[in-house]
Amino acid sequence: MADTLTIGKALNLGLRRAMEDDAKVVLMGEDIGRLGGVFRITDGLQKDFGEQRVVDTPLGEAGILGTAVGLAMRGYRPVCEIQFDGFVFPAYNQIVTQVAKLHARSRGRLPMPIVIRIPFGGGIGAVEHHSESPEAYFAHTAGLKVVAVSTPADAYWGIQQAVAHPDPIVFLEPKRRYWDKGVVDPDAAPGPLFGSRVVRAGDDVTVLAYGPMVKTALQAAEAAAADGRSLEVVDLRTLSPLDLDPVYASVRRTGRCVVVHEAPVTLGLGAEIAARVTEACFHSLEAPVLRVGGYDTPYPPAKLEEDYLPDLDRVLDAVDRSLGF
């Protein structure tokens, strides 16, 4: 029976179901128990599953991830909440030198089924370190997988798939979209976690986005349609590994490609995608792959974030430039 849920509630229900399915699932994080998390994603879970399975940790991100490594070695499936994107860096050492490498270091003897949930991206008028998009750091690290959800249905299913997966996953949640609603059918079979998806068909330009920018890309496509331009929008969904076959198929038809993300463009996901699309679709391209993203600046104060963040107009500007070649 399908329900209309927010992304936040869908994550909450998905986590609940993951905990019911596997007694080894342990949630860990700051303020996730009694408070239910600062975004209430874990609301009510400690009450129902107890303090041993929903752990209010001391305030230390390295401690959260480092103890998660030990629990994973012992056969548990830790799901770690990082309260905000910019706070993941104290845990960066554990994530990059330990979580990502222990499976390889042990030649497969040590499983690392750890999920690292990070609310990411800007647009909520927050103070410093609460609006960042650190995905490229993790996508660049061998041994990690990185996914970003954009809809309540993907949030509900994606978190369950991530928890059940044997490899460590950085699970990016679009914090400014937590309250966006969509239909979730708890009986519908899920699509694969590591697959991209065409979310709007079109013929003129292929627009790629993930996480919070999917909505922005869809709004741009809607506006472009009014001008008689047909944009195909692809929700990448998985950032490492990338699933670009549907993208290549699309670009071979449209001949044009625009990648949108909030993270700074230099050496961001868009750069890697541009390289791959160019290599795979070289003879089909009518224009260079263009990138729309954050500037190479620290994330700005809240009053300036609209200048920094890609929006509908900047996406359409890139579409115009692509079509102008």
Partner: protein, 377 residues
């Protein structure tokens, strides 16, 4: 006692030379003096049989023999690097022999002596330093985690693993190894906070070998390290790290307390790194030869040998037999290291993930095709 007066015991008598001064230390747990005399301690008793004493001596001699052989092999170009345990044998054997089968040790990269007590094949350690793999042993089957090179990171793993044991209701504990330098790491401090907060069954075993590469302990702490534990809310104890009996007794007691739910203990094994930090290091640049001579008088093996001789627990025949066994071990290590098969290039792709990705599978296929192209040419 003021903080300042506590630190005076560590003050360098030769400014800038970093030589630790070694006055009488009333807090030091000792059961065997440097002269090999058995002494009692009010808090730590040890009931130990002659067989066990001889076995400890054998452990000490064999791991030192292994270590000397490994250093030689590195000098001969057979290893890329070696991190010597010379001087720290008693700390490692005492701690390792305190473990029970169901316990789990989390070493740094120098705990070859602990590896020995967990029946890890020395060749599985050698393969790491030869550059064949990142450690060839099974961490869970041996109860001995892989070596961790990032300083202090493993203390959190040990704490998390202990939290798992706690959830399993296991009668078990973890033993987290660290050095004096690691105590400056934030992660080590977080590990102690987590351990205390959750009363996790973990024992922190700090081998204070006086130097973090070149930085003396005075550059790491204003107070004796074991005193830090009280700030985290659990017991800290300083043991003579060159006294295998005291280390065994203290670690046994701490692990027993952890297993029965009393939470963590911090053990500072006061010892000395007789050799270099690694074979790439030159300790003559930062410490005095006289300091080394002073510590040679506290040698962990010599004092147990003196005790065994004095008490008649062992005789020359026994010592000779252990030495002969050491020679056999050295030959096995030397031959086994030299004869290790070279790894194959595709191994780099094989265990990055439990479920490999299409991208990595493609890179692997391209690697194979690239190399095959040379064979065809």
């Amino acid at each position: 006692m003021s903080v300042l007066s506590q630190t005076t015991e560590m003050v360098d008598p030769v400014p800038g030379a970093g030589a630790p001064h070694l006055p009488a230390q009333p807090d030091l747990v000792q059961l065997l003096t440097p002269e090999g005399e058995r002494v009692e301690h009010p808090d730590y008793s040890l009931d130990i049989s002659p067989e066990e004493l001889r076995a400890l001596y054998r452990d000490l001699v064999l791991v030192r023999r292994w270590d000397l052989e490994a250093t030689a092999l590195q000098r001969q170009g057979e290893l890329g690097l070696w991190a010597s345990l010379l001087g720290q044998e008693a700390a490692q054997i005492g701690a390792g022999r305190a473990l029970q089968a169901q316990d789990m040790a989390f070493p740094t990269y120098r705990e070859h002596g602990v590896a020995w007590t967990r029946d890890v094949d020395p060749l599985h350690v050698m393969s790491m330093f030869r550059g064949i793999d990142q450690g060839g042993w099974d961490p869970v089957a041996t109860g001995f985690n892989l070596y961790t090179v990032v300083i202090g990171a493993q203390t959190l793993h040990a704490t998390g693993y202990a939290m798992g044991m706690q959830r399993d209701g296991a009668d078990a504990a973890t033993l987290a190894f660290l050095g004096d330098g690691a105590t400056s790491q934030g992660e080590v401090n977080e590990a102690m906070i987590w351990a205390a907060t959750f009363a996790a069954p973990v024992v922190f075993f700090c081998q204070n070998n006086q130097y973090a590469i070149s930085a003396p302990i005075e550059r790491q702490s204003r107070v004796p390290l074991f005193q830090r534990a009280s700030g985290f809310g659990f017991p800290g104890v300083r043991v003579d790290g060159n006294d295998v009996l005291a280390v065994l007794a203290v670690t046994r007691a701490a692990l027993a307390a952890a297993r029965e739910g009393s939470g963590p203990t911090f053990i500072e094994a006061f010892t000395y790194r007789m050799g270099a930090h690694t074979t790439s290091d030159d300790p003559t640049r930062y410490r005095l030869a006289s300091e080394l001579e002073e510590w040679k008088l506290r040698d962990p093996i010599a004092r147990l040998k003196a005790h065994l001789s004095r008490t008649g627990v062992a005789d020359h025949d026994f010592f000779d037999a252990v030495d002969a066994e050491g020679d056999e071990l050295a030959v096995r290590i030397r031959t086994g290291t030299r004869e290790m098969p070279e790894p194959t290039g595709t191994e780099i792709f094989d265990h990055v993930y439990a479920e490999t990705t299409p991208e990595l599978a493609q890179q692997r296929a391209e690697f194979v095709a690239y190399h095959a192209s040379f064979e065809e040419a």
